[in-house]
Amino acid sequence: MLQITEGSHAVAEAVKLCRPQVVSAYPITPQTHIVERLAEMVADGDLNGEYICVESEFSALSSCVGASAAGSRVYSATTSQGLAFMAEVVFNAAGMRLPIVMTIANRALGAPLNIWNDQQDSIFLRDSGWMQIYGEDAQEAMDLHFIAYKLAERHDVLLPCFVCLDGFIVSHTFEPVDIPSQKEIDEFLPAFNPLHRLDAKNPMSFGMYATPDCYQEFRYEINAAMIRAKAAYREIAAEFKAKFGRDYTGLVEGYRLEDAETAIVAMGSICGTAKDAIDEMRDAGEKVGLLKIRSFRPFPSEEVRTALKGVKNIAVIEKNISIGSRMLGAVGLEVKDAVYKDSPNIFSYVGGLGGRDIRKRDIKQIVQWAKEGRNDCFFGLREELLK
């Protein structure tokens, strides 16, 4: 049944349905409504788990690491500065192969201080060993949590996962959302069955010291698990589709890409605006389509290449900047790597940083730029502010 729900509350409902035994989080805009609602659920007895009120994000994820090692299903959520503060633990959680699911309500990083949306925060942890999947709207953001737990906890994966949604744009917007029943989720998502477990009777150390003679092999194994996660994701999303009817089976998703000469590549909520812009451009006879990247880690290079086969120009919308990189955007670098053998024109266009709106006319302009071969650059820059 559809309910009008705020994106954050839809995520909180999803988390509740996954029955986490431990929730540990520190409130930070624009993630606050998610953890506020979860705290209420625990206080009201609707969520039978422990809510740990920590004093910082570092402690939030550290307590998740401990709880997950002890065999609990755990949850956290954060964004921006909070995620940056967690960074050390982010890498440790992946190295210890703890299937923690954490929502990232994507927000810009300071300085200057900015609480609004871009995707710099999750992207800067792209090499941490966490999976990263991006929801376009409240429904997808919600559903990806069910898939994320099942995926992270599979023994051939065992990697933590960020479920990313654009701060404010998705987190604070009310939308109709189909919330599954507890029975349905219980059928889809079995209880967490840990491979190892902290136990006083059989003591274990997690994330042990590894000398130069074996550290590299541990890193190799983490990467191998990340590669296996692609097939595992597809399997689980197919199961989800069969049960709930909503289709997230692709690590990427094409929109009107058939016969497209120019393609936009994007992640997250901007895909919705891009689809509207594409519809209008198609009506005007332009052969243009969208490739939505749902999973940034693992990065689905083969799917990207297949989906963009025959496309002449590719414009990647970047809500991030890899400062100092010639191509500017972190997503573009990956897309270019995926398609370079097919030699299309491919450009990163950086914009929407720190919450600046990206409008349909911006997207149309980007498409025009890609057709003209305009090189990687910012869009929507206020030239009058620049010296």
Binding site: R97, L98, L195, H196, P203, G207, M208, T211, C214, E221
Partner: protein
């Protein structure tokens, strides 16, 4: 160590890492000067100096050669000698 998911191991596992191989300078005890006060054993950050038999001795499998024992010895009974390997 054996590879496993999450680098999980039983306690005491670090004993397998023979960190003594890192050593450049080797503590050597002059038993004529030593009064067996035990300061070296107390100060050793690796806890690898123990009373064994008549005198304190160093477990060279784990001694990294930091030299704290020689520095702290009130009788200057320990000297750090460049190790020949």
């Amino acid at each position: 160590m054996a590879l496993n998911v999450g680098a999980v191991a039983a306690p005491g596992h670090a004993r397998n890492n023979k960190t003594g191989s890192w050593r450049v300078f080797c503590p050597t005890l002059d038993t004529a000067k030593c009064n067996k006060c035990g300061t070296c054993a107390l100060i050793c950050p690796e806890v690898c100096i123990t009373l064994s038999g008549e005198f304190y001795s160093v477990d060279y499998d784990f001694c990294k050669g930091c030299g704290l024992c020689a520095e702290e010895c009130p009788k200057d009974a320990i000297t750090m000698k460049k190790e020949e390997k």
